[in-house]
Amino acid sequence: MPLQMSSSTEGKTARLNLAGELDATSAPSVRNALEHVLAGQPESLVLSVENLTFMASAGLRILIFAKQKQPGLKIYLLKPQETVVETLKKTGFYQSVYIVDREEEMKA
């Protein structure tokens, strides 16, 4: 399934909803969207990825990119699928993000 994406900003929290497959082809558009929401200097970024079925290297590197653009940014992955979590763990990327199942778990 091609990637579907929407974004919003609420106070100091930016939000990207991603569904489908995030691969090398779709990654640049996510990066653009990310740059757009980061321009508002949010304190935290929520990636809602419950329906994201695949995340390639390019997708994971976007997380690092976000950190590089804005040090101190808290990145939350909301309800990632098991395959995505496994990849994050095996590559050490999970240390860069908070993985949460419910929005309430996010720190203020």
Partner: protein
């Protein structure tokens, strides 16, 4: 393929394109560093060839058969013999690249250029094409092993190489895939770097503080692959001693290789091992490549600068000091730099703690194959500023007959796999005569070989990936390599093994008991010897390869670690664990200097003294099979007490006179390998004191270790 967003990182003004070809903008690049480097807005490609007449950069989208563009390097882009070009606006994530070199095809003088082939970058940091282990390749693809880019964005936090003193190491040699590929490993990603992470608790429990990974440079498991003519079993290039690229980790060993994320997975493994206090040594194959001899494929080096990269005979064939078809021309200045750049990269970018060099004697040969007295490459590695804290370990021989154990050019830095230690200890344990004198030398760290270098030059091992496992060493008189499909012609014949009375698996309890006892003797000697001990994966739980002493092609139960053995052979595991702890707890055993055989602190006894059944009367005669030694604790700071060790490899039990313990102290038994668990080994604090403090009976083919304490 232009990335949609090129200005993610602000570009500098001096990186502007000057040329354009089919919509791709580029300019002259920087000749150094070699390889493909990501720079603002583009990628700098740089490659060397001294003889080529032309060079073309070939760019692919990932996994696509046909190139998306080919850009010939304009003449003005070449500086000296280096072609460099900076191409703008490439999508780093979706890029594969290679080169075509024009030049003469004149094998008799060493030139093998073929512009119809796309060749890989010698400095490629990621190589695509074998992304998933044993996934059938696209054999029609014109470019099988594709150079890719790597990223530097891994978050190391505060990780760094551990710099554990080498004399404190207990090394565990393992095969990345074989360690967890067996279903019994119960890891979420069997056979991968990630799988090892899940077994870190096991390594901690065992007590080792260093893992030595068999080759992890990208190789092709399909190389020389075949099916066994009788069994149909696939035989692969499982061990991987056949390098495709010196800078790229093996994708098929990574659970995330299919995503192209093997670089991150290896780094994450190193970081996690470091967190657990475990160092990482890589077994590196710098002596030859996967291109084989004149019949082999053109993958990279052969098609770029054959005459520089390989040692060639006067008529243009390949010298074969590696036994694998070709020999890398290690002491050519260009190749020397390649080797240095490679190791610096692994040390700096992957935080690797040390390297073990496969067939390292080749690294000391000149361009015609003659051994050098002062090999520039070995000297450069020894004194390199980036590598200066890395362990450097040589396999100090090669397949061309150069055997340098004890004489490897060391520059005060190099350690060696001590093959003489292995042979002597094997023979001694199986009961050969004439070895007592040599054993006395080996347990001291082999001063006969390393007098000027110290015991840390000696990597002591009894088994390694080459040859029998420890279990098989005492279960087979002869190798049984039928499963390799080479009619038993492969693998060593001089194994110094003994089957204890039955060839292979047996239900005979006496035989099985003796085998267990001899394995304990082996670990006991290994972990009491000065020098640096190395264990082979699975030996601590009596892993068997069914008598196969060359499992290089066995990607199956023969080559994998069977984790059910942890339960079944828990007695041996417990013993090894206790011996490793004993070594860690007794600094005198792992001191970095040789014993001097004299009392230099006024303790009343020498730092080490040798004995036999009679005190002060070691029997070094030709027919002797026993030896005892007393180690004085007062000669080493932090050491608690004296240690007495009696080794009886005779088939009968023998009485050994004991030295008188110091005033107020008594001898307690830490180890008695003739006993079964739990009486085979004790924690020092719980070691039972001997009722008779003047003599012990050491059982047949067994060892006792005593400590003097105030208990």
């Amino acid at each position: 393929m232009k990335s949609q967003k090129a200005n993610a990182i602000e570009s500098r003004i001096d990186y502007y394109p000057t040329h354009e070809h089919h919509g791709y903008r580029f300019r002259r690049g920087r000749p150094l560093p070699f390889g493909a480097s990501i720079v603002p807005n583009g990628v700098n490609f740089s490659v060397f060839s001294s003889v080529a007449t032309s060079c073309t950069l070939v760019l692919f989208r990932k996994h696509e058969r046909e190139p998306m563009v080919e850009i010939e390097f304009p003449r003005e882009f070449r500086v000296g013999d280096v072609y460099s070009m900076l191409v703008f606006d490439l999508d780093y994530e979706d890029l594969e690249y290679g080169y075509r070199f024009g030049g003469p095809w004149e094998p008799s003088v060493g030139h093998r250029f073929d512009a119809s082939k796309v060749v890989g970058d010698p400095y490629a940091r990621v190589i695509g094409g074998r992304d998933v282990w044993f996934a059938k390749p696209d054999w029609d693809d014109i470019y099988q092993h594709r150079s890719r880019l790597a990223f530097d964005d891994f978050d190391w936090e505060d990780d760094r190489p551990l710099e554990t003193p080498i004399n404190d190491l207990v090394i565990y040699e393992l095969h990345v895939r074989g360690f967890t590929a067996h279903p019994s490993s119960k890891t979420s990603a069997g056979g991968t770097f990630a799988g090892i992470i899940e077994k870190i608790p096991y390594l901690k429990k065992l007590g080792v503080n260093c893992v030595e990974l068999m080759p992890i440079f990208e190789f092709d498991e399909w190389e020389n692959s075949r099916q066994h003519p009788q069994t149909g079993q696939w035989l692969l290039n499982y061990w991987g001693y056949s390098t495709l690229g010196f800078f790229a980790p093996k994708a098929g060993y990574a659970a995330t290789g299919r995503l192209g994320m093997q670089v991150d997975e290896v780094k994450n493994l190193v970081k996690e091992l470091h967190k657990a206090g475990i160092e990482v040594i890589l077994d590196v194959v710098l002596n030859h490549t996967a291109e084989g001899d004149h019949r082999g494929p053109t993958i990279s080096f052969r098609g770029i600068d054959n005459r520089n990269y390989y040692m060639l005979t006067p008529d243009g064939y390949y010298y074969n000091f590696s036994g694998c078809g070709n020999t890398l021309n290690c002491n050519h200045p260009v190749v020397r730099n390649l080797a240095l750049d490679c190791l610096r990269y692994w040390a700096a970018d992957y935080h690797i703690d040390g390297f073990r060099f496969d067939l390292a004697s080749i690294l000391g040969r000149d361009q015609n194959g003659a051994p050098l007295a002062n090999p520039p490459l070995l000297e450069s590695l020894a004194l390199d500023p980036v590598l200066h804290k890395c362990k450097l370990i040589a396999e100090a021989w090669d397949a061309g007959g150069l055997y340098q154990v004890g004489s490897f050019p060391a520059y005060d830095r190099w350690a060696e796999w001590n093959g003489k230690y292995r042979d002597a200890v094997r023979k001694f344990i199986k009961g050969d005569v004439g070895l007592v004198g040599e054993i006395a030398t080996r347990i001291q760290g082999s001063p006969d070989l390393y007098y000027y270098r110290g015991p840390t030059a000696s990597i002591n091992f009894i088994t390694c990936h080459d040859g029998f496992t420890l279990h098989d060493l005492f279960s087979y008189n002869d190798k049984h390599n039928e499963a390799n499909g080479e009619n038993g012609n492969d693998g060593a014949n001089d194994n110094n093994s003994w089957n204890c009375g039955a060839e292979g698996e047996t239900s005979d309890e006496f035989v099985n008991g003796l085998r267990l006892q001899l394995m304990k003797n082996a670990f006991c000697i290994l972990l009491l010897s000065r020098g640096v001990p190395m264990l082979l994966m699975g030996d601590e739980i009596a892993r068997t390869q069914k008598g196969n002493n060359n499992s290089y092609c066995q990607d199956n139960d023969l080559g994998w670690m069977d984790w059910t053995l942890e339960q079944r052979n828990s007695e041996l595991f417990r013993f090894v664990q206790a011996m490793i702890r004993f070594r860690h707890n007794n600094p005198v055993l792992r001191a970095g200097a040789f014993y001097r055989g004299q009392d230099s602190v006024g303790s009343g006894i020498p730092d080490i003294s040798f004995h036999g059944t009679q005190l002060w009367g070691p029997d070094f005669s030709a027919g002797s099979r026993c030896l005892a030694f007393l180690i004085c604790g007062k000669h080493t700071e932090g050491q608690d007490g004296d240690i007495y060790v009696a080794m009886n490899m005779h088939w009968d039990g023998l009485p050994f006179q004991l030295p008188k313990p110091r005033h107020g102290e008594r001898w307690s038994v830490v180890v008695n390998t003739s006993m079964r668990a739990p009486n085979d080994v004790f924690e020092a604090s719980q070691a039972p004191a001997l009722s008779n403090q003047t003599e012990i009976i050491v059982g047949p083919r067994s060892m006792m270790v005593l400590i003097a304490n105030g208990n």
